[in-house]
Symmetry: D2
Subunit: 361 residues, 4 copies
């Protein structure tokens, strides 16, 4: 039951990279929310292969077909299902990894788990391609949040390899990266990040990074300790994205180095409105939202598919062997992953927000 | 439904800091597992107030009473319920925080969420005291894992304030901290960490830190992508512990700075046994365990209760005011939190392991 | 995870008949609901042994102790936990059933399931005694429903053995049985029902029956097809009560004999208010409430504990043997079960009602 | 979240009667189970419109297209998704029911619930057509059960209107109805049942009925009290099928009229094998399977779509009006519903069986 998520808003993701189609069923949406499909398409485009720096040359239209749940341009309130056809497969690229698993991939663990019955082509259900339906669900959640409480979600890249940028920890309204370019508001840092990606690519290697996402306008008082919080829900979701190895909120791992007197977010009335003087907590105290912007970071490992020679094993002959992985690879998955992370934040916020009616019956 | 967790093993935590009792119901344990209550007591003792460096002087026996689920020293397989009586409350210490919320605490968000109906004494259900029943559940999960697959769980502190220690990233069998002392195997670093805590205390301040936990002997092939993984389950659980702001696995946020060629864990046969050459993935590929040690890090903010003067608001008069928080505080929660994090790892491992029977029916 | 129920309102029931205590944790209640503990006690009293015709002479005070979740007489919104001490055990009565299982009891299936590790005394976790915490949760749910939407829940007995009474199918406001007497509004039928119980008792036998429950004032438009309906939720809950073998709604199994033209509930405006002309559907169309009274029936088998000689097996010697069951038995469980069924209806209504906020965000 | 079901095996059903497609995602299947698609197609055919006595003349090929989860003829273990295209819609037939709701249909409750945003064409997501994906999931579950423990599922009709047939209560291996004909093993009763349907049809009316399903070969010791039982799971599922008003097990509502001495299923060794002398319990004691055949009954109301004149209201003008429902109707849904009920039993059995690994870790 691993590909189903949510306490109230249930999403059920299906598909294999080289099967007929991938998609998602979203169950539990409120009815009557107008869905702007062009905005959804724009989100999908941000993740689509071939459009981002360092991304795989595989091109897929990635146009979702709505099968149910939208009628007259609005959500019906019954399950919203979509499919995305797979059209550009090169399955022959992927033969053999069942026997000589790629380092850093799920080839070996999938074999342990599924006893060679899973579809290995293109990574099957483990493929990063499966983040497209997650993103679709997230894009819908964004529109619901915007409609219901004016919440907006932003994201940028704060690290690629050795190049680091400022967090939005001190910001209340993010300096939004110019659309259509690399999602880092400081152009000079953005250029250096792109340089890291190019360098990795030139060496037939890959590079990791960190994204940061922010939600503005999310109401305070939402969530329930201990495990019905945006933090728990988002972390659970985000660790379902391939290559994610860390999740943090507000000042993240930095808080460990601080004193309480530095880290505590003081309350104050400013212009007769209550707020926190700082936002080290990333919008939460005790797991419940406090009205400040929600802020989270997600760390991605370098994409494991590199065409440099690597060491692995032959599981049949039980020998140590060397492997070179041909085919299409992303030198850096981070730019394409950013909208998926934003979508996961939207899903987590919406699922926990939907619980509000339980306690304010 | 925030205080209930688990897909298969359900834990339901109850209680308020200054109510009659706190406790937990654990539903779904296998039957016939011998429970060594002295080992459980030892775990509880590691978290009990007053026994750890920098901890609050509040002392509680914290002895759990088993109400059901253990018979003749073994789990019955029906719900295991315990209660821990609250005996040493000083409720008067906590009056007033409903009006002048403490910075960094849930006083304000709880007010938004519960409309002043929650029990504010000692933080009520938000209190760190509620980690005692979570730890109890974790201590039981440890014994089940040990019994069923020989899994052992270890933990140490890798950061207190500015003092950092080595991760177990390169270790396969942790250098275990000597029992009964500060949980850091390098004594000189341990002393410096204690110094950080003492310094904070002397300044009526507090300090944060990072713990790292490892599970050895956990079988490979366990878990299902995307969200039925130990990573998702552990992250969800850990963010339910008060003061946690970050969770990571394996090399954690470090992976973001690396190239794929550095970070990929190569496979090899060594002494005819398959293993990974390194463990940057922390025991997982694609969310499924690979047989290597499970490794995770959790970042804690400095405990927000400090007796130094802080700024906050009076919610009734709508004025900005100053506050000094009297009472018993931990200068550093990290040592007491470590066994709770270990317990959360045990719970996550067990819950996901219990799913194995679903696919190997 | 069998003893945990609920999508939004989670209840987790624990305890064994002859262990230290039984109880329940109720997670997810709205905050600020005044709880009248004397009304709860009255409900508990309706189920308590020794107070109902034909019930076991075992007497238990059955007074629940609140451990958390109620503060200043109102729900806090955090988990409500209670315990009921077991005080009047005669464990020696129950030895031997592990070897010679009682017909109609769970002795044999429990042995298959728990491999002799479960607590067999008094039926352990299978005991009808465990309906006391379910009833407690139901009594709380009744008060929340009453407070939030004026919903009231009623119940009566419509069959004991061969004696049948009218359903409330044609009623909109039930003719309430006089308090404190047998819950059947027709006194002459009630007397004959009591006669059935007395007859069974005289023969050291037992007898089954059917209860019917009704909720008035429950709003229309609540629930979601297919499985987030009061029907699904109530059926799931009710089959968790020992001895239940059938659940139906509205006209129940009678609908199978009817034509559509007889059975369809026509809509009409009456005094400018929309209603159904009849209530064969029991308050639902398509699983969603329609504003009519909610009506359900639950069939109970005769309690299997009878002191007449019965045939069974000795599982050790593998011989067919005869058994006589000494001890305290209910000749008819139905009167004591009625408040539990009412409570289950309250829980189902509340859980589904709590979902309303999800779609009317 | 109403259209998602299951504790371990998650099914997520989507679609509207007249939208592009309907379908289901099945998450959590074991891997490596050979799927005989021709057997699945045969099951689908049993439900398909136009092939059963008294069924609607709407014809749909109802051929499911597998989108993921089957590879090389076997389950992959990752989500199995299918779609069934809608090809034969007559949407104009259904206009107007939003204003003048059909008695016995969800038109009015859907309007309350979805505020006129749901797709009303053909009943939208409420349509009986949505049982096709449930049946698909059930047909897969049947094959998994057969493969894993030899379990077979049978079904027959035991009531149509006034005509009743014998239950399989006394049978251990059902007298299987001859394939391809009306599912009632007594041909003379079957003819009279068909007569009931014809009579109803001739009067432009409809008629209800009861189906009974049996599973043989299901192992004992499966399930956990209170709510992780086949009884709870099946009841929850079955009440999600449109028109179901009652669910019972074993002797069902008959047990209410019995004495304990008549009803208790005695244990005995027969040919050195343990069994029950009778099967009034329908295969369960205490919610746990006992190795006897699983037996359940489900009552269906007469299909509400009849072309006779009926009374209803105009919700806009607030007047009482008369309505005649044109279009294609089933005079009796029961024969087409039978395979769906069998499928629900298979799903319930499989979901609970999958829990076995949790306790026999």
């Amino acid at each position: 039951m691993g590909s189903t998520w949510g306490k109230r808003l249930k999403i059920s993701v299906y598909g294999e990279s080289h099967g007929p189609a991938i998609g998602v069923v979203i169950d539990g949406l409120p009815s009557g929310i107008p869905i702007d499909e062009s905005k959804v398409a724009k989100e999908m485009q941000r993740r689509a292969p071939g459009t981002q720096p360092g991304s795989t040359p595989r091109t897929e239209a990635d146009l979702p077909t709505v099968l149910s749940g939208i009628y007259n341009g609005k959500t019906t309130g019954t399950p919203l299902a979509i499919e995305i056809l797979n059209t550009n497969q090169h399955s022959s690229d992927y033969n053999g990894f069942v026997t000589t698993p790629r380092p850093g991939h799920a080839d070996y663990t999938a074999r342990l788990r599924y006893k060679m019955n899973n579809d290995p082509r293109g990574g099957g259900h483990f493929s990063g391609r499966l983040t497209a339906p997650i993103l679709y669900a997230g894009a819908i959640a964004k529109q619901v949040l915007k409609n219901k409480c004016g919440t907006e979600i932003y994201g940028h890249i704060i690290r690629i390899g050795k190049v680091e940028a400022n967090s939005w920890e001190e910001e209340e309204m993010p300096v939004i990266p110019t659309e259509g370019t690399f999602p880092q508001e400081n152009q000079s840092i953005g250029q250096r990040m792109l340089g890291e990606i190019e360098d990795a690519k030139a060496l037939r290697d890959s590079v990791g990074g960190i994204v940061e996402v922010m939600a503005t306008g999310f109401p305070g008082g939402i969530g329930s300790p201990m495990w019905d919080t945006v933090e728990s829900a988002f972390a659970q979701l985000a660790f379902g994205i391939p290559a994610v190895k860390g999740v943090s909120f507000g000042s993240g791992f930095q808080v460990a180095s601080r004193r309480g007197s530095e880290n505590n977010d003081h309350l104050l009335f400013q212009d007769e409105k209550l707020r926190m003087a700082t936002n080290h907590g990333g919008g939460f105290e005790g797991g419940i939202s406090n009205g400040m912007p929600i802020l989270a970071q997600v760390a991605f490992k370098p994409t494991p598919s590199i065409s440099r020679e690597q060491e692995t094993v032959n599981l049949d002959t039980k020998e140590n062997v060397k492997i070179e992985i041909p085919g299409r690879h992303d030198a850096c998955i981070v730019p394409r992953a950013l909208p998926v992370v934003e979508g996961c934040l939207a899903l987590a916020l919406l699922d926990v927000l939907m619980g509000k009616g339980e306690y304010s019956l």
